[in-house]
Amino acid sequence: MFLRLLWESFARQRRRKILAGLAILLGVTAVTAMLGLATTIGDRIHQELAVYGANIVVYPKADTLDVKVGEQSLKPATGNAYLHEKDLEKLRGIFWANNITGVSPELRASLLFARGLDQRTISVDTVGLWFQHPFGSGITGAPQLHPSWHLQGAWPTPHPQVKDGQYAVVLGSTVAKRLGAAIGDDILLGDSHVTFDSTSPTPAIAADHAKVVGILNTGAAEDNEALLTLADMQDLAELPDAVSRVEVSAKTRPEDAFARRDPDALSPKDRDVWYCRPYANSIAYQIREAIPGAAAEQVRQVEQSEGTILERISGLMWLISAAALLAAAVAVSAAMATAVLERRAEIGLMRSLGASKGRIASLFYAEAGLLAMIAGVGGYVLGSVIAAALTASIFGQAAGVALSTTMLHAFNPVLLPVVLALALIVAVAGSTASIRSALRMDPSAVLRTGA
């Protein structure tokens, strides 16, 4: 009987209910869109800010290092200490391994470049990097950490894959200009010990052949550099397995006061808490633990701007959501007030049949709840779609994410119960005043007027 009553009375007063339902729907849509954005926005902002570099750098702790370097034929830019490339696998074993989104090791050395034996020779800061390097289940490398890099041509591949045993090299745009080199050109490169300069060409034995596979334009230091694969660089520098610096990009929790504490000065319990939170500091700490001889630090600026942007955005979103829900509650209460008023006689009759106030209230609340559920689901779907569209339009292009993938992400099942609960709260809050006033009415007076 309750269900029958609920269903039949639900189907009545369509216009008022559509009005109230629409209000809930719009409120829920706004909230779903906001929450949907808020949950994806952290990831997306992180990706966006990754343009400016990694948020953790790892470098060798020079004083305690004992790296077995073959022949010290080269003077590396970072001093004599190196990390082991094979140790980078250990990053995958740290507590917050899954938060690491990119790893880019580098080995730097100054090399001499020339178009040919009789051409001008210049000294170029050369960096060996990972390109499309398998790491865990995905691939990573310098391009992933530097999405803003603009490349013409292709990234270098390890030299055995290039015909004639040549090295593949990408030149910074300035270097390419100075050398007068274009994609596809053969160039010579050699280490700085083999001093060949413009006046006295170096003996051919000291020089290696390389092919320009791409030209890089970043508007930054890289324009004055040349890029090789890390393996090639290690080969050229005769530093097998050596890495002079590693950039790590990790999803982190915005820094707070606790994040800045020194873990070794904390109580064991606090230390555990600190350790198990994805602060950049904690991740850096775990990297230090995992990789022997490594020092790791967060890159402050990026980290903090990420945190503040997220904070501001989420604050704004809460405000908008609260306003949308409040507006919905007001609209619901207006619609319910008239709806209940129109049914005064019905309420009076139910009272005359001995229905308690609680039972009548539960009937009306169930009706409001049903409306909230229907409008809530509608709002969830609509809001998710809007969130996806917004995400795509704000971030889509830069992050290179297709709308369809964003759509898929947008339907966050965790949000559904949350927004349904909110819809329910709005509906109940909006109808409470009118239901209460209806129950306060004198049933005898209502029945007398015979509305």
Partner: protein, 250 residues
């Protein structure tokens, strides 16, 4: 009709005491506070109604008939005085106790029928079962058959004539076997033919032992009752003792 003397009234009450009072009013008043001052819709009413009695309440418009019926039906509580129904002191009950009491003891028949428009005749009857205890479609159907509407059980109120709607209303009032049936102008909105049908049903109910308190303007309907209580300006004005005595003696 003339004002009854105090002695006559006491005599009548003494007589009725034997008839096991279901309803007893002692100095019951109901006042409404309105903008233009306090309205005494019912003024110091004292009388009893015995079990199985059929009482007609008469009086001019605004004399307090509906007020009295609402008090008897526990939809309203007296401003002062004692109201006892079926041995229980209604004036002292809490709101939820009154709800329960109303479901158990009172069946209402309204002038405006007050059927729920989106429920069928059968469901309207079942609604009373629902708020009382448990719904039972067979019982509800039987109640409709009793008022001659077995064939119209699945019709909506809008598909029924006024007389048929009133019969649904009576079936609904009867479904929980309440000891008291309160009817506020049950035939006020009906034509002569339908009034006759409703009168017939009420007569059957009375014969079956129901206590009926009925407000009516219609002398014909009032004549069906065993006793009349006349109201004027909120006062129980006329108490035709002889009539009661005669009826009781029959």
């Amino acid at each position: 009709m003339k004002m009854v003397s105090e002695a006559q009234r006491q005599h009548a009450e003494a007589m009725l005491e034997h008839a096991m009072p279901v309803i007893q009013l002692v100095g019951v008043s109901r006042e409404y506070a309105s903008r233009s001052g306090v309205v005494r819709a019912l003024d110091d009413a004292s009388f009893t109604i015995g079990a199985g009695e059929w009482v007609a309440i008469t009086g001019p418009s605004g004399s307090g008939k509906s007020t009295l019926v609402n008090l008897l039906g526990c939809l309203d509580t007296p401003t002062s005085g004692k109201l006892t129904i079926d041995g229980e002191e209604v004036h002292a009950m809490s709101g939820s106790e009154l709800d329960r009491f109303r479901a158990d003891k009172i069946g209402f028949v309204f002038q405006q029928f007050h059927l729920i428009p989106y429920l069928s005749a059968l469901e309207n009857v079942m609604l009373a079962q629902y708020f009382h205890s448990m719904t039972n479609a067979d019982d509800a159907r039987r109640a409709l058959e009793r008022v001659g509407l077995g064939a119209r059980a699945d019709h909506l109120p809008s598909e029924l004539s006024g007389g048929e709607q009133q019969r649904v209303c009576i079936a609904r009032a009867l479904i929980n076997d309440p000891p008291i049936l309160l009817a506020d102008e049950p035939t006020g909105n009906l034509d002569a033919a339908n009034q006759k049908i409703v009168a017939g049903i009420l007569r059957e109910l009375h014969a079956a032992g129901s206590t009926i308190v009925m407000v009516t303007h219609d002398p014909e309907m009032a004549a069906l009752a065993q006793r009349k209580i006349a109201l004027s300006h909120g006062k129980v004005f006329c108490h035709p003792v002889q009539h009661v005595v005669v009826k009781l003696a029959q």
